[in-house]
Symmetry: D2
Subunit: 337 residues, 4 copies
């Protein structure tokens, strides 16, 4: 902090070494998880038959989805002590055959557990995959993963394709057939559930979240806690307005919910910083959810651990809040030691 008369036009970052990240994506040895299975043309981002990112960038990501050592190296360079891994998107949600989805979810969970959690128990935890095409099976696999593999919850990649022939035919997570899954989540006692945006800058995930709120699921299963990436996909910014409009509507018209959307956001959701590099967005999220419900994360390998750590560690903020967001909240929620 001493007086310095020269400038390198850079600001030094003091690396914080206890951070926990909650949205690290990995691949499956059994199928190509970043696409539907079998493959269908991607819906968005392609131009003249080419992907939206350049080839070396995509190859690097592909490599990192399956390279435990590179992940650990990157975590070490970034001061990330511990990360929960989960299957990249659309993952099991993109498997078009229901029975295959059930089977591949289980096999993939076992494989990820072996490679990451069992081999490096102090570094990795697991959010399991579940086949939401068969919600009863999803509930069973969730229970197995939590009890046998020590999973911290399930990660669901937004919509589930429910029609082999029409990939645009999808199911929302508040669909009544999903009830057994929510029931099981609740029985397993506040077991968090990572629900991640597949595309559209979070609009999809925000839509799922609002529907879950309106459906009364969070009244029936009060224990359920949902983790949203990207500072909860704009919900902290806009949910007051949704409540405001719904307050003048006819009660019950939008579902059997009992509380305000803001209430659910503040009591049943956590927001991660995955993909966020903007202080005012983080501040708005803390302003609306409280510092106990905001969690550091990266979205590796789609984001750089190193860049995210430079941003988070270098920000001017009080250390009590930084530690709470950086690792203390995650330790409390997931009962890590």
């Amino acid at each position: 902090m001493a007086l310095n008369r020269k400038t390198t036009e850079t600001i030094k970052v003091d690396r914080l070494n206890q951070k926990i990240a909650l949205e690290e994506a990995v691949g499956s040895p059994y199928f190509i998880a970043h696409g539907t299975h079998p493959p269908t043309p991607m819906i968005t981002g392609m131009k003249d038959g080419l992907p939206p990112y350049n080839i070396p960038f995509l190859e690097d990501i592909d490599d990192r989805l399956n390279n435990v050592e590179k992940g650990l190296e990157s975590m070490d360079a970034s001061g990330i002590t511990y990360a929960t891994v989960s299957l990249t998107c659309p993952g099991v949600e993109g498997i078009l055959d229901p029975d295959e989805a059930v089977e591949l979810a289980r096999k993939t969970n076992d494989a990820i557990y072996e490679l990451y959690v069992k081999s490096h128990p102090t570094r990795f935890g697991l959010f399991c995959s579940v086949a939401m095409k068969k919600p009863e099976e999803a509930a069973k696999e969730l229970e197995r993963a939590v009890k046998v593999l020590g999973a911290k919850g399930a990660l669901i990649n937004g919509f589930t394709n429910i029609d082999k022939d029409d990939v645009s035919n999808v199911r929302y997570l508040d669909d009544p057939v999903c009830e057994p899954f929510w029931k099981k989540l609740s029985e397993l006692d506040s077991c968090p559930n990572l629900s991640q945006a597949a595309y559209g800058f979070g609009i999809e995930t925000a839509g799922h979240s609002l529907r879950i709120m309106c459906s009364g699921i969070l009244d029936r299963y009060k224990n359920v806690q949902i983790i949203l990436g990207h500072c909860a996909e704009s919900l902290p910014f806009l949910v007051h307005r949704i409540d405001h409009r719904m307050a003048i509507g006819i009660r019950g018209n939008n579902g059997p919910y009992k509380k305000s959307m803001m209430y659910y956001l503040q009591n049943n959701f956590y927001a991660t910083l995955a993909g966020v590099r903007r202080e005012s967005t983080m501040r708005n999220t803390i302003d609306e959810m409280g510092e106990s419900r905001v969690l550091f994360s990266v979205d590796y390998p789609y984001e750089s651990n190193e860049d995210a750590a430079d941003w988070f560690d270098g920000m001017q903020m009080n250390e009590n809040t930084r530690k709470a967001i950086g690792w203390e909240n995650a330790k409390r929620i997931f009962k890590l030691t």
Copy 2:
């Protein structure tokens, strides 16, 4: 401010009397503007054949859309000196026949001008309607409204239906055929354009805005200034992330834009407080756009002038910023005296 030992469990609001509101909706004497023309079933909000709001509430709104005196009374009670009126949504965008749209836009503009602007020149200004089904005609009507009726710009209600037989067939505002309209907007020198969300909590408007940014329109017509309601529909919260993802994409893949989305947001957009009653949402918007680009508004009669004024006037904030947002910015932008 004196010491008070009793409580009425209310907080007194000192009414500020110079406020300017920019999103006051009115009806047309020529057609039912809050629906398509001819009518088609509403897409959302109906349940068991009933509207989402109760009948007295809807009747009150219907009345106020066409009642100048009630509007003035409400403005007086709320400390709103001046308001710009515009046709309620979907307005002309919902007229399915192109020629009819052109004609009704012109006739409606004249009618609103007579009823509001000419009769109460110190209280009302106009954002005209234009028929975006025929962008050349829209450009002509914009010019006429600005030059003859003193319009402050045009209000466009999101999508324009472009197919009589399929109302879901719509046109985005960055469609190449819209170019003449943007060109005219620019020629008329930084003439603001109110683009309002029809539904979906601003997702539609945010989508239009991002497409306009990506299309290069704001590079070709640098004067164009766009006003977005509802604190710019979450763009202040999330646009950094869009920039962040686009920065790792292939340049040009998403359009011929030259600057970042954040740059356009800060240089070509204004955000109004229409429909917003949340301080942290307003703060986030000021944080990302600067206090010179945030404007008080209400969204009357869908929102209550009185409630909005109580919120805005009663908030704890510095008076310099409150005045800038309350009226000084609007006076500067619209050259009001």
Copy 3:
């Protein structure tokens, strides 16, 4: 929240009923606590022989300093479940004879305990008085008050007069002779200590705090936790600058401290909202200390419980943070149930 077309120019406040307040002042049956003992002319605030406040106002305060029932009534009207009481300022610090100070501290603690804590154990706790003129005795009385009367700590009203003949001759709390007191505070394990501004808008208290930080007391007794009123008397706003200047000074020149002033502020201090009615001041305090170190308080009867509750309960903020500041932090720190 429903649409309202009339205005009463007030905003309704929903009363929160579990608040805890930490700076409620009471009198002593044994001496006039709001002046020196024996009386000396007040140093500031008098004009033409008259006090700075009007007589009915002063009489009301005098009454309330000794009226348990009025206090309870006011707490009920304000949603304050529990309050810690302490002797008003300058209290024992203004007793000029050391032995008398020791005796009156003990007798006053017993009296306040009987009147408030013993009679209303679910409503009141105690911060005891101690005679800092005799720090060894202060340590003893602190221990007795904590162990016998269940005191939550001691409240010290800034400077201690140390000279009968010259009231301007005062002792700072980092004076080496105070060491036994700090040692005892630490032994009693993170027993909080309310240190309140006597005058000068907190400059005195900020001065004490900075000297305590520089003295190394907080390195020698890491358990010590100090509660400051008035959002920590501007320290959140300015302490970064003190650190910044000290960083370019000669290490050790200002004392044997081991950490930054910001570190001590974030680890050894709590800030109360006593006397604060400004959201941005509260936000700055949360920004610098974290929401776990900010505590609701009033400063009754010098401030109005009712007004403070209207402000705190009516503010737009997330409920998680409001509860943390309103009562959860106090419950955790003072092990209340």
Copy 4:
């Protein structure tokens, strides 16, 4: 912004090249300005006869106080286009003989004008020194400096010593004998006045400012605009509380002021960032004064231009506000082109 898998644990800063700084200190060729004249022992900071900073550090500052080229070089490296210079503290306020003060103020103003303003008119402006021991003479010199040397106002270093034999005998700036100076400031039409903290982390300057507010000077001379360094010395954080206490006092007891202290702060004061490197302190200042009243500054050579620029240019904030604070406000206030 591209994805980066390595970390240098630094954050790159994009240098902004139009910044204006308002508190650059320089020396006088006629006397040692950073001490009283004749010298008296320093009041604070010395330990065992040594200064609080190390010798090379002090030598560097001494050199830079009189080295135009080093100043320009440092400004270039920091993206500071333009700076207003003023005599370092205590400057003329520390000259104990009144007539000598009058003479040295004039001669020093001429010398600084020659060295800085005349030689580098596009890079430097001047805040003149005035002898507040003789307020009539101060008014005259202010007028001469403004009209002949193009001075932007006067800089006053807090207290003025008014007694040769007792340096602790000082005059506050609201002393009635100062009235001619305030009158002249007002006549010269909103000519700003830099009032800088000499010591005590701004407590002195905050005290002067509050006394000036209470004295009615700002009611009698509404044009007067006062620039305070260090984010207005905590006034944005605490002035609401001063108003709150004064509101329950006897009107007029503290002076003939007509408005609240907050009103004066928002209408008659500017706050600079001199010496500030903390985002939340800057945010609180913007929150209370509005972005039009906050001004970038450094406090060179006591602070590093380069460090200050790295902080200011590197902060995550919207560019509209950054430009307003960085240079646009200064250009408007000082009519720079």
